[in-house]
């Protein structure tokens, strides 16, 4: 079973990267464009030269060519072979590795069943939808019994709903296959749903590598905090379960209502762009709506960050520069703050911080 180790890897933007992915672990590489995420995958697959060392289970792979590394790779553009049917695409790797015909047939059938693409068997890639192509490409990448799987933006080309559905399926499949996987993802939320650990990359260096919730609630550097959208982290002082699948959380003098999923809530993360500001009292029920005072205005390129004091809590919000100009806001002005209920994220607590 493969444990992947990268030691002092240097290539293009990557600078002396050292990283270990444990056996059967799912690691997500997250970061802005050009941070070196895909380069790391290419290095592990052996598709590019590099300085440094790569080990699989302690075995140095630097001189091993890609076809002998046993690494499945789901490329971002999928690159399904256009001249082969779905079944032949999936069977390709097995044929290249000279598996007996009956093994090939059984494996192809198994994977088509697992990924719900059995009806596509004789179709050609050109006639498939985005989601179908994604499933076929996943099946093809893992078909030759690979024990390492690299996935470059596995759900980026799909609509939000299909993407979420496939992420859940992918997570189940990876765990079932007992495979070591490294995913490149551009959004933290998606990565959190699949990965055991998340590494945040920036300009070729790993800024932080932690378990999913830890990144959001304990960003180690300013870059990570900026990248995840500078969320407002509120401590939960008290909780009260409401009858309608909601939970009321008290943080300082604020009372916030969240969807309740049976967890013990310790902290809440609210991204600034999920907090709206209004200079007039908004209509509708008073749920998650507060009155506050502008404490700080931070103009950025196309937006303005505004810090609002609400009953002893301080919340960072975001407004587009245009909206800010129209509203004519200033420090000390009283405003109404609305927190989007559905977008609130919270963690129960981390194992190492459990009391």
């Amino acid at each position: 079973m493969p444990r992947i180790e990268l030691k002092n890897i240097t290539k293009h933007i990557l600078k002396e990267i050292t990283l270990t992915v444990e056996d059967r672990e799912i690691l997500a590489l997250v970061g802005p464009n050009g941070s070196g995420k895909t380069t790391i995958l290419n290095i592990i697959a052996g598709l590019t030269d590099y300085k440094g060392e790569v080990f699989f289970d302690g075995r140095n792979m630097d001189k091993t060519p890609p076809h002998m590394r046993g690494v499945g790779y789901l490329f971002q553009d999928l690159a399904l072979f256009p001249h082969l049917t779905v079944a032949s695409n999936i069977a390709y790797g097995l044929k290249m590795q000279h598996y007996p015909e009956e093994t090939i047939t059984a494996r192809v059938d198994d994977l088509m069943n697992a990924l719900h693409i059995k009806k596509l068997r004789e179709r050609y890639p050109q006639s498939l939808s985005g989601g179908e192509k994604q499933r076929v490409a996943i099946a093809r990448a893992i078909a030759p019994f690979q024990k390492i799987l690299l996935l470059d933006e596995p759900t980026s080309s799909l609509d939000a709903q299909t993407s979420k559905y496939l992420r859940i399926e992918l997570c189940t499949l990876l765990k079932k296959l007992e495979i070591t996987a490294i995913l490149v993802m551009h959004d933290l939320l998606g990565a959190e749903e699949i990965a055991d650990r998340i590494a945040i990359l920036h300009k070729g260096a790993i800024e932080q590598i932690s378990r999913p919730g830890d990144i959001l609630f304990n960003p180690k550097t300013k870059m990570v905090s900026e990248f995840i959208g500078m969320p407002n982290i509120l401590d939960c002082d008290d909780c009260r379960i409401l009858s309608s699948g909601l939970i009321e959380v008290v943080s300082g003098n604020m009372t916030i209502v969240l969807p309740y999923e049976g967890n013990t809530i310790r902290k809440i993360a609210i991204p600034p762009h999920d907090i709206y500001i209004s200079d007039t009292k908004p209509p509708g029920p008073a749920l998650n709506r507060y009155r506050g005072t502008i404490a700080e205005i931070i103009p950025l390129r196309s937006m303005v960050r505004i810090r609002v004091d609400i009953d002893g809590n301080s919340l960072l919000t975001e407004l587009s520069a245009e909206a800010f100009d129209e509203m004519n806001l200033d420090i000390g002005r009283e405003v109404f703050v609305i927190i989007k209920l559905r977008r609130l994220r919270y963690v129960e607590e981390f194992e190492d911080s459990r009391e």
Binding site: A45, G46, L47, P65, P66, H67, M68, R69, V71, G72, Y73, F75, D77, A79, F81, P82, H83, Y92, G93, M96, Q97, R140, A141, A143, P144
Partner: protein
């Protein structure tokens, strides 16, 4: 006149030029003489020789062109630009000059040694193979490279991660996907070889019933003022050439850039 009509007019004018020239051959058409020339032993030999040598030269050209085109399409290596430029040689240098270069080479010590100890090229059928090969291989590489350039390298990378060696990835993916382009390139190479004249006459000469291909036979008949015979042979060459081009379009389902 609209730009669209004007541009169409230009293409129709070019068509009329070629069609008119071909039709003018029929002015000298005399039924019985036409058949007599076609069925003459000398003409039939020329047709057979042309078809055979063009086929062999094409096979050799494509055999060399496929790996060369792949290397030029996929790899960056020292001298790549130089090789790429040299491939233009048959297009910028007259075939007669190319043939002359080959003849001169055979008069140097290594060339003479090759002729004595290896294959006798000058004034033999092997000279025709060589003449057609040197004038077509560059074009074959160009056309096949263009077909391979259209196949993304990514397919080969996928194949490599699935366990295919570089050679297997090439055979099962790139070669397979550029199959139509290679067939089209082969047919056009064959047509070019069939019509080759300058280098062939320079290296292999114009010996009747020995090295007289159709283009050489046309030249010989024209030189002896045999207009009817020339017209018949030109019609045969044009007929084969057009048939081949239609074949290409039928196989590829699109217009082939030459």
């Amino acid at each position: 006149m609209s730009f669209k009509r004007l541009s169409i007019l230009f293409s129709v004018a070019i068509f009329c030029l070629y069609a008119g020239l071909i039709l003018s051959l029929l002015y000298f058409y005399k039924g019985p003489l036409f058949l007599e020339i076609i069925l003459s032993e000398r003409t039939l030999f020329s047709i057979r020789l042309s078809l055979f040598t063009a086929t062999v030269a094409t096979l050799i050209s494509v055999f060399f062109a496929i790996p060369s085109a792949y290397a030029l399409s996929r790899f960056r290596f020292p001298g790549r630009q130089l090789i790429d430029t040299i491939l233009e040689l048959p297009m910028i240098v007259s075939p007669v000059a190319l043939g002359a270069v080959v003849l001169i080479f055979f008069n140097t010590p290594p060339g003479a040694f090759l002729q004595e100890k290896g294959v006798q090229f000058v004034f033999t059928i092997y000279g025709i193979f060589l003449a057609q090969f040197i004038t077509t291989v560059g074009i074959a590489i160009r056309l096949i490279k263009a077909a391979m350039d259209e196949i993304p390298v990514r397919y080969e990378e996928v194949a490599r991660t699935l366990g295919a060696s570089p050679a297997k990835a090439f055979l099962t993916v790139t070669l397979s996907l550029s199959k139509r382009g290679i067939i089209a390139a082969s047919i056009l190479t064959w047509a070019k070889a069939l019509g080759e004249f300058g280098a062939t006459i320079t290296i292999a000469g114009s010996m009747a019933m020995k090295t007289e291909t159709i283009p050489i036979a046309i030249f010989m008949r024209l030189a002896s003022a045999d207009i009817e015979g020339t017209a018949v042979l030109v019609l045969i060459l044009v007929g084969i050439g057009l048939g081949i081009l239609y074949g290409v379009r039928f196989l590829t389902g699109r217009n082939v850039p030459v």
